[in-house]
């Protein structure tokens, strides 16, 4: 199995917020995230950005 680059990883992380990833994609992602703290930060930060824009739009549950 080919390892994902950081760029490919961020694309999958982003898609993970929008659709269900395949088993293969989830495995590949997990392996990359295990060894890459920068991409782990990207995961947390994209989820945070989602919460933040909801708050910006005035959602109570953001």
């Amino acid at each position: 199995m080919r390892l994902l680059s950081c760029k490919e990883t961020t694309a999958l992380v982003s898609q993970g917020l929008d659709r269900k990833l395949s088993l293969w994609e989830r495995c590949a992602l997990r392996i990359h995230l295990l060894v890459c703290d920068a991409c782990r930060n990207f995961v947390r930060q994209s989820a945070f950005i989602r919460r933040a824009v909801r708050r910006l739009a005035g959602h109570d549950d953001a």
Partner: protein, 191 residues
Amino acid sequence: MNIAQIPLLDGTQVEQHRSYLLRYAMLQLRDAGAAEDAVQDTLIAALEGFDRFSGNSSVKTWLTGILKHKIIDHLRRQSREQPLVNDDERSEADAVDALFKSDGHWESRPGAWGNPDQSLENKKFLEALEKCTQNLPAKTARVFMMRDVMEIDTEDICKELGITSTNCWVMLHRARLSLRECLQITWFGKS
């Protein structure tokens, strides 16, 4: 029916609702006139349909739900009459490429943001975030806001905007990378 007859929606409360609805509409539509219209239509629909308000959700959630429909109506009309120009594909792809080395590794590795949720209470942070969203190209911003704020499925976004899902995912990826980078520079990188 007039506003004063409805206990949950007296004059001052309408003003309060108006202000966050306007904010919400502005984020989606980026056009003050269109946002005003959508909010106006929402309040009118709310008054006319108040007997359908179940009371299970807050008035705010209920009104926001109506506003979402008004916004989508507006976007639909707009995409018929005056479709959004596509973002400049080349410069958008370049902007993402600039964040990574040619082998796909980060040019500048994202560091931790500590406990970013504390910033959500900070008005200055929300202003910084709003500026960052305004820096996004028009179509990318639209797709991102429909997805992350209005919580519309990508499939439905694609249908509304007449784009492929791949295209949709590419735009969402770019939007998130770009917002992360912008917040890093204008907020979390400063201390």
